[in-house]
Symmetry: C2
Subunit: 385 residues, 2 copies
């Protein structure tokens, strides 16, 4: 997010590359790596050497924000703990991402998107009432944690304008999910006997139509918030004969007759394509959307138009799809540049930003403390969206 919004972001990773970079092939960046590292610069550092630590400390002296998500205690063991770094640079924002925070009984436990989905109630509330609980396809805990940590760091930058001081800011994966449970937690707290999982229905089983329906060529979601939406939907379905049917006249009545409502709607949807249905429902502004496959999202005209799906070029993979920036400030959406090859910016950062001379850089490279490639080896030209 910082890189998209124009900050100079320097990615520090091991001289062997971080895990995701070469997950598939030891010499070719994975597509996931490309998707998550647009518009950054690369400076690999072996932080276990004293020369490596010195490079890092020199960077810290000039940095506004450090973002790290090592296991708790790793930075301290490297001699790079928050206290130490903030003593060196009192204006530094030290942003720490963790699974479970730095205090409390779970603090320090290993955490992954899957395991936090489990503990945070995401898995138990997802799936059908008669089926096994299931995780969410997208790794949404990872991304909730990331955007919270970004927001925390920017908040601290703003605070620094007032008091001149940096600070330690934190976001824990588990914590960021708790507010998203508002609806099921409200149902639980009020003692309602709602099932733990409701498939595609409303979590309190109190709204209908609210479901995913079968179309001729896939699925689509329909959600009638108000009686007005319902009456319009009846018009779309050419079922005005039901306008005065007491089984469906109020939200409460429709919730009581949910199976009948869903059957009615599916009778309409199952003989039409998603596009045909979308056209009919949009005319009446009934909230609805097709269940798109990932391939359809990847090629969505709307997302390409608005810069959320962009293309960068990679020396081996060719054109690679990368996400744009969902935060829109004034002006045109930022254009992503391809994730850097390992060490693509080592020379520039060490010489221009830190003032190292050519001989010193060569020594560091020869000692394996860093790696230096050139941008041209990666062919990083960004395509216009």
């Amino acid at each position: 997010m910082f890189a998209h919004l124009g900050a100079d972001v320097i990615k520090v990773e091991s001289p062997r590359g971080e895990l995701l970079r070469y997950r598939e092939d030891p010499e070719v960046e994975s597509r996931e790596f490309m998707m998550l590292n647009s518009s950054k610069r690369s400076l690999p550092i072996d932080l276990k050497t004293s020369d490596g630590r010195q490079i890092f400390l020199d960077l810290i002296d000039r940095a506004d924000v450090l973002i790290e998500n090592f296991s708790l205690g790793v930075m301290e063991r490297l001699g790079l703990g928050a206290d130490e770094l903030m003593k060196r640079n009192p204006r530094l924002i030290y942003a720490r991402g963790t699974g479970y925070g730095s205090e409390g009984v779970l603090s320090g436990l290993s955490a992954m998107d899957l395991t936090v989905q489990a503990i945070a109630g995401v898995i138990s509330t997802t799936g059908f009432p008669d089926g096994k609980p299931v995780k969410t396809g997208p790794a949404f805990v990872d991304f909730m944690a990331g955007i919270h940590l970004f927001a925390a760091a920017v908040s601290a930058l703003y605070q620094r304008e007032r008091d001149g001081h940096g600070q330690l800011v934190q976001a824990a994966m588990y914590d960021t999910i708790v507010p998203t449970l508002a609806s099921p937690m409200a149902a639980y707290e009020s003692g309602k006997n709602a099932p733990e999982r409701v498939g595609n229905r409303h979590s309190g089983l109190s709204v209908a139509p609210y479901n995913v329906y079968t179309a001729k060529d896939g699925y689509l979601a329909i959600f009638c918030v108000s009686n007005r939406h319902w009456r319009r939907l009846l018009t779309c379905m050419a079922r005005e004969d039901l306008l005065d049917d007491p089984r469906f006249g109020t939200p409460h009545a429709r919730a009581q007759n949910m199976d009948a409502v869903d059957e009615l709607v599916e009778t309409f949807t199952s003989t039409r394509t998603r596009a045909e249905i979308a056209e009919i429902l949009r005319e009446q502004d009934v909230p609805s959307a097709p269940v798109q496959t990932v391939g359809e999202v990847s090629n969505d005209e709307h997302l390409i138009q608005n810069g959320m799906i962009q293309t960068v070029r990679h020396r081996v993979l060719g054109e690679v799809t990368v996400p744009g920036c969902a935060i829109r400030l004034d002006g045109a959406p930022p254009v992503a540049t391809a994730a850097p090859a390992l060490g693509a910016d080592t020379g520039d950062v060490l010489s221009q930003l830190l003032g190292y001379d050519a001989q010193r850089i060569q020594e560091l490279v020869q000692a394996g403390i860093t790696v230096s490639t050139t941008r041209s080896e990666m062919a990083v030209a960004a395509d216009e969206a």
Copy 2:
């Protein structure tokens, strides 16, 4: 988020109250409303009257940030469009939340958490390969959109420190989900023939163990990132006899023998409780977590300890659970105060902030343009967590 972090947040809603406030009972706030409106102040305004608009404009003159998520065009029709407001107060940050942004073919369409989960590929990637696609239990699109909009507004506040100007910032629900698809989109782009849905397995089917397993008293997730984790898990399961088994020796081999891996693990888990398994696995630091129910999350000792689960008091509901703030700046976690009764702060805001006299306030209340109650009617004392 602003209120949690100490800003004076004034919630402007209709004199009848917003939809969520009285969803269950026309006189008692819903628990969901309480969960989403901690630490704010309430000033109801009928924006369709000229006197109401004037109150709003007087607020804008003193505001740093306006956050709104009306349908596109509503603010303009009220005479309160971004251009107009920012002309009045050039330092204003106008933060607009939408479903699909203000440009592009989908712009202006109705959007709800359910329908955006559908179009953004969340539903198609969630569920079992042989089952119907299913939405995520938590309304995660709503919360992704909210935290992005918060981050956008804070970014603009920081920018304003440099150039002195406010700006329009935006976050669209659909856009915020696109980056979370990195793994399935990478699989799609690389032409892999992975199934659209993989249940609780790794989306590329390239990691094992990675699944949700059955315990005696529920489910739990286990995820072995490395060979080290796998060897430790074998120790936990007292299956050191398999340490040299070629079927399981490498990540690739385990992925090839995924069914056998899962069967082995479930043989171990199915005869033990989640707590027994957790104790065994934590000793060896194998990433794992119980699949907690919402009730278990709501009572989680760790979350109560760290202030993510707090309690406020409501005049009718009694003790209500509310989420804390997942962004942690220096110092103790902020303590949530109960969501305000409708109009609880009308008198204070109009007199102290805007300088209206008592007679004017009385006239506005009598004309139904606003509503005024007192804080004591709500009994808003916050409990210590």
